[in-house]
C-alpha cells in the first residue's frame, strides 16, 4: 500500500480471504457457468463449457466435470431450468407480440435475453441430465399490460426468493458459486419491473427465501403449463411437491 493511513483491517481480511480461493477456481466455475449475454461471447464461452462437459462424459470422467452434481443438486437445477424455460418463454412471446407499452417491452427484451441465457447455462451445467422444456400456454398474459406486469413481478420476486431457499441446500460449492451469480440478477429484474410500475423496488432490509413448493404453487396457479408437458414434468422429481 502506498498510503499508510488506510485502515489495515480491510487489507488483512482481503489477504485472508484471497488465500481461501487462491487459484480462483470457484469463481472460474461460476464465470463459465453464467457468463454475460453478449452474442458471440456467450456462444464461445458456453461452447467451451459444453465441450468440456461432453469430453468428460465421453472419457468416463464425470467426477472431473466442471461441476460434480449430486442427485439433490440435479433436482434443484432441473427445477430452476423449468422455471427459466417458463420465464424465457413468457418474456420472449411478449416481445414477439409487441402489444405491451414500450417501457415494458424494453424490460421484456432485456430480461428475456437473460432468462434465455440462464436456460442455456443450466442446460450446460446439467449436461446429459438436463430436462426438455414443458409446453406452455401463456394465453393473453403476453399481450395484456396489467396481467403481464402482475405475472412478471410475481415470478421475479419469487424466483429470487426461491434461489435464496435453494442456495444453502446445494451440495456442490461450485454450483453455489454459479447459482448466486444468477440469484442477484433475478433481484435486479424484480426491482426494475417494480420501479417501472410505481412499486417499491425493495420492501425490506432482508429478502426472505421461499420454497420450491411455493414456486410450484405459483406456477400451478397461472395455468401456463399445457397437457403436452405432463410427461416431461412427471419425469422430474420434487416439482409438483
Amino acid at each position: 500500500m502506498t498510503d499508510p493511513t488506510v485502515d489495515p483491517t480491510l487489507d488483512e481480511l482481503a489477504a485472508t480471504l484471497a488465500d481461501v480461493d487462491a487459484d480462483g477456481a470457484l469463481q472460474e466455475t461460476a464465470a463459465a457457468a453464467f457468463p454475460g449475454t453478449r452474442g458471440a461471447f456467450l456462444r464461445r464461452s458456453l461452447g467451451t463449457l459444453a465441450g468440456i462437459t461432453a469430453g468428460a462424459v465421453v472419457a468416463g470422467e464425470a467426477a472431473a466435470a466442471p461441476v460434480a452434481a449430486t442427485e439433490n443438486d440435479v433436482a434443484i437445477l432441473r427445477f430452476d431450468l423449468v422455471l427459466e424455460y417458463l420465464q424465457a418463454g413468457l418474456y420472449t412471446e411478449a416481445e414477439r407480440i409487441g402489444a405491451l407499452t414500450p417501457e415494458t417491452l424494453a424490460w421484456a427484451r432485456v430480461v428475456g435475453a437473460h432468462e434465455r441465457a440462464h436456460v442455456r447455462a443450466l442446460q450446460d451445467l446439467l449436461g446429459r441430465r438436463t430436462v426438455p422444456s414443458p409446453g406452455f400456454n401463456y394465453r393473453d398474459v403476453t399481450s395484456d399490460e396489467d396481467a403481464f406486469i402482475k405475472t412478471a413481478v410475481a415470478f421475479e420476486d419469487l424466483t429470487a426468493a426461491l434461489l435464496k431457499w435453494q442456495a444453502p441446500r446445494l451440495d456442490s460449492r461450485s454450483i453455489v458459486a454459479a447459482a448466486v451469480t444468477l440469484h442477484s440478477v433475478e433481484t435486479r429484474h424484480a426491482a426494475w419491473i417494480r420501479h417501472l410500475n410505481g412499486l417499491s423496488p425493495v420492501t425490506s432490509a432482508f429478502d426472505k427465501p421461499a420454497s420450491q413448493e411455493r414456486m410450484a404453487r405459483l406456477i400451478a396457479s397461472t395455468g401456463f403449463l399445457t397437457r403436452r408437458s405432463r410427461t416431461a414434468l412427471n419425469a422430474r422429481p420434487r416439482f409438483t411437491g
Binding site: 480491510l10 480471504l17 461471447f41 469430453g55 430480461v111 429470487a160 426491482a191 426494475w192
Partner: protein, 210 residues
Amino acid sequence: MGESCGNDGATDLGSSAVRYSRHGLVRTGGALVAAGAVGSLFLVRAQPAGTAPSEALDREIFSFALQLEYLQAAFYAAAVGAGSLRGDVLEFAETVAEHEQAHVDFLRDALGASAPEAPEFDFGRAIRGERAFLDAAELLENTGVAAYNGQAANLTKPSLAAAAEIVSVEGRHAAWASALAGHDPAPRAADPGEPARAITATIRRTGFLR
C-alpha cells in the same frame, strides 16, 4: 491505488463507476477465454479449492462484509444529511440508508465482541450532487453484490442463508440506483463474484476511506 485516491476523489469515483459497468464484461470475457484455453486443466481446477467453510472463515467473511456495510451505511446517511438530494433520489437514499444500517446491525450482532469498528470516511463531492451521488451508489451497490457473490461458496450453510438475504437487497438497491441514473438496471445475465482483493481495490479507488 494510492496515486488516484484522495479526499477529493469524487471525480475519480465517477470514472470508476463507468469503468465497472462498461468493462466488467470484458474482464469476465478475458477470464473465460483463459479458462477455455487451459482445457483439461480447468476440469481439475474447477473442484472447490482451498479452505473448507467453517465458523472461523464465516467470521472473516462477515468482518469483511461489515466493512462494506459500514461504508454503505455511512455514505447514505451522509448523503441524506448533506441535503442536496430531492424527490425520488432522496427517497432512494433514505430507504437504502435504513437497509444498510440494518445490515451493519445484523453483522455486528453476528460477530459479537470481535466485530471491527467502523473506519472513518470522507465522501467528498459524491454526496453533494445527484449525479455524483447516483454514480457512487451504483458503484457501492454493485461492489456489494460482487463481494457477497464472491464469498458465497466459502460460507457455511447458515451463514450463506443469511448472506443471501442481504445480497438480494443489495441487488435491488443496485437496480434501483441504475434506474434512477438512467442506466441499465440489469446489465448482465450473471453477476460474477469478485475476490476480496478486487473488492478492496475498488473501494480504495473511491477515495472514501480516510
